[in-house]
Symmetry: D2
Subunit: 342 residues, 4 copies
């Protein structure tokens, strides 16, 4: 079997695991107060070009989204998000559980448009009864999106401008950030993300780590008491250095970028294979998630040797599927898929 279900099916990239093994017997203080975490923080600040940013390491994406959003919003505010946003769909109500509404914007293959954000805010405050409604307190976007799509630098600049004109922070969910930055044709860099967002995170779980998300807070006015909130959300790892060790490895010698680049390259090759075989993409994704609408007969045949996810319900004669590459995907696996299709 070859696996394309997701980018969190294997363990850690060997170089990450190696560092965990090398440091396993060491004794350090807990909760991220160790030297590894300090070094990972420095490496990330450098990579982001933000020497003063606060960097904190959490375990997973949902808890990171909930902790950040809970900390940024005032009690009467909600978070703007694409209807397809992870926080609106696949987090079992984690945001609402902290007391906040997800305010829904139209989704264009996972992306929101600056004009829609601007309109939402203008219409909100021009409504006489706005104090009876949930105020937009921040904007959440994912980069890349749940559809694998990415924002261009212009689009990000505009979203950032709209937010800052309205006085609300921009939060970027970077659970797959590496793949977004390595996207085919992308003109966005990590430094751009750090410059345009008020807070964002660099996903480790899906980009080579066992687990871990590095939250980067570039806006000094935000999340001033983040650590107790992290603890309150059950997101403070006792052996916190495990996060530091992994992110130190990922941000040493460009490993995070290399994993991202290789993984995206394989996904693009996979896309070409399907497209060449006559199966156009259901979404034009330049990252490591690829979507195709395939005949059910082909799906059933492929499934004998390949594992992948249905994307939505099975149709009468054809259905949409998702193929995802990860750090552990090999060129051989991609070519094996090519043979299966032939």
């Amino acid at each position: 079997m070859i696996y394309f279900d997701s980018d969190y099916m294997a363990g850690a990239h060997p170089m990450v695991l190696e560092r965990l093994c090398q440091t396993n017997q060491e004794q350090t203080t807990g909760y991220g107060t160790d030297a590894y975490t300090a070094r990972a923080t420095e490496l990330i600040r450098e990579a982001c070009g933000t020497p003063d940013a606060r960097v904190r390491f959490l375990v997973g994406g949902t808890q990171t989204n909930a902790t950040v959003i809970d900390g940024v919003l005032s009690r009467h505010e909600g978070v703007l998000s694409a209807e397809s946003g992870h926080i609106n769909v696949h987090e079992s109500g984690a945001i609402e559980a902290t007391g906040h509404k997800v305010l829904v914007l139209p989704s264009y293959q996972g992306k929101v448009r600056a004009a829609d954000v601007r309109d939402f805010i203008r219409e909100f405050y021009s409504d006489d009864t706005y104090e009876h409604m949930v105020a937009p307190g921040m904007l959440y976007i994912s980069f890349p999106t749940e559809y694998g799509t990415v924002y261009s630098l212009d689009e990000l600049e505009e979203l950032s401008s709209v937010c800052h004109e309205a006085g609300i922070p921009l939060f970027i969910d970077g659970a797959r950030l590496g793949y977004g930055l390595a996207a085919e044709g992308s003109d966005v860099t990590l430094k751009d993300i750090a410059r345009l967002a008020d807070v964002f995170y660099i996903g480790g779980t899906k980009v080579g780590a066992l687990f871990g998300e590095a939250v980067v807070i570039t806006n000094p006015d935000l999340l001033k008491n983040f650590m107790p909130l992290v603890k309150q959300h059950g997101a403070l790892l006792a052996k916190g250095r495990l996060l530091g060790v992994q992110f130190e490895a990922l941000f040493t010698d460009g490993l995070y970028e290399k994993i991202s680049r290789d993984t995206v390259r394989r996904a693009i090759r996979l896309k070409e294979i399907f497209n060449s075989a006559g199966y156009p993409s259901a979404v034009d994704s330049p990252t490591n998630q690829q979507f195709f609408t395939l005949p059910n007969t082909l799906i059933d045949r492929l499934r004998e040797e390949a594992s992948f996810e249905m994307w939505g319900p099975r149709g009468e004669t054809e259905s949409t599927v998702r193929f995802v590459t990860g750090w552990s995907t090999t060129d051989e696996e991609i070519e094996k898929l090519n043979n299966l299709l032939a």
Copy 2:
């Protein structure tokens, strides 16, 4: 330096880490739906003597406490706990953040008394205004407690009886469960815990794992929709098999018990060393946490070569300190401490 700060200063027990390395390249489905998690579940059911118990794996203690308590309580209920209980002191308000009050009982070196629980409940319902107060909806105890003390089997039986007569579940925080079961002179077994509690957890983070807590739900009426709650609390690990692999290792060939036994044995030796040197215990703990009130001069001298925690504020001439052993503590380290004291 030798380290006695806590039991979460080193990584994983070598046999646990080895299994993580051996399985690292494998591809499995996420979120705990893998075969390792299934096997760990079976091993834990067996060890507990509860073939029908539901077993779920979470990442850390605070999130486990918050998720379980949030799922067990009705909205108008609170959780009974010793004043010294971890949920009441050291979780940054994680329980209150889910909307529930911690109802405080007197703490006797970390333990609650069945009579106090019974009295609380009786007085509550005999108050005409009880609907204006927070109803006791469950009992939380830790085993061992935050002071390293343990309940006897009789005490646990009585607490369980009091709870069940009152119709409220008993929840045992077992973040250090292994050390409680291995406590000097303890007559409590894992099967007793499983029989007497409605839900409890087997701590991995502090007993040889990198991280992880195994929640065991023995009362079939409780937590019927636990998984979405785990997700909502940000406690569902994407690479869930990491928890399965670790607990499978811990519950194979008695590793969990062995780690616990060895760790407690070293703590008891450490206690003897201090006691023999004329420093009586501040708390008579039979587990891996040991407390002493030492002259500040001695504390300062020890600190040059040993690391350990203050327990409360520094006094004028003497202060209370805590020494903790863990899986990585060696006999040599204990004896080095002996030499330091001499």
Copy 3:
């Protein structure tokens, strides 16, 4: 000036106020434990044909919605509602503040369709990842809706069936219930509402009381600990008998029905006046809220002598407006409007 802004612009119906004055000096116990509240409870049970229903009196609509929904739902569940539902739009996030997501259904002039409810639930549970999403735990509808429309008896029967087949309760927001039951052409009775809903409320604030909503719980398995929840939500009035006195008055000699009938009759006359004058209804409402799309010039002219609300933003040349009648609206005021239009 004549006022058509809303149905909560005047105080109480004179007969309600009279009873408040008559009983003002009496001393009774608080929090709804008085004899007036007991009598109002009995009168409402009788009117509903549900001798065993629990009846509780709260102060206002938003707090009633939040308290009921918070008490009905489990932590992992959300509430289904039309997109236009009051809880989704105009309660400042009161539902989310209790930790629950509002799950949005299409709105057909304020109404939801049973087929949409059925589809939502079926699609939810047929999704492999449903434990990562918010489970539909109840259905909220308003009767009449925010657009003044009402469900037919058949529609209510079908919604009730769909809910009960799916095992979720049906909750009816009856902030304007009287007007819905008195709607032109309606075949729904209070007994039908009580038979088909699991919990609903009879609005007082907008139907002749100073304030007050009577919650009727017909499903004995729901909201078993409602009183402490009411207190927790700050919805327990100290001088609770004020609610009992008012609802006793409203449910004596058919006053509630009479107010509703007269108020709707005047609204229908108002509709005829506009329609006859060549201004068709924007929504075909058979209750006390009427909507018209009028030329801005007419709006501006009417505003010199009549007060009413804009419904949405002002358009280029015409805009939609809302006219509402209430217990204090007189036939003379309606005819004055007729003259204004002429």
Copy 4:
């Protein structure tokens, strides 16, 4: 029967009710945007000597406490309160339901001591693990307290200083504020309260109104988005002018003070009656709540003609009881009690 159960057993003071009747037929806009509310606001600002204070009217005490505290605290903070504080005991967990812990201080007959507040804060921040604990984010006191006691001006000055040195706001629950200001021997004025607190409220429910609490926000940095929070908490009355009308009446010609003064005078006479009859006070209260420990035989005899509350459980031979006077208590009722005792 004569009634001393509480100060919320009768309706409104006749002059308050009269104004409600006089204005009943008027049409005003809702939610507190009316002229009565504006005038009440001005009268209260004047009485407080705070021309810039924001004044908002809510319905009841529990909802006011929960809304204010929820709005003042950051997510990681809790509220300091005497153990006996209303928010800690008798609000069914309303504060915790908003996600915040009540941090308990020792209660001295209902009062907290500035030294205890100072110690709590100092010890908190001197603990290395303070980020794992709930930070004190504000101080809640009641004036008068639940025991009828009051703070002296010096005590209030000191509490205010301690809070402001620590950078946390002082919130005064004034559900019975009038009786505290009218307390025998009190040197505290309403202007003092307004000067020393950051936010407080003037209770109407227990001091002559049907219901209503006037929140006065003197610290301009606090509760900047209070109205949506009030709505979110279900505390925004649709017919908001009912609150304005009542507080306008209470703050016209010193009615609020007069009610308070007369009520306290009668309570002090009641105290003298009991004391003279050989029954000393259980608490030395200078306000409208009086506590005595009486023989059970006397309690049973009095109960035949007087109604009052037990304060705590019934003892073997004697028990503590509470007698409360209110605006409707008459001198005749007090003297009738005298006769009963004789």
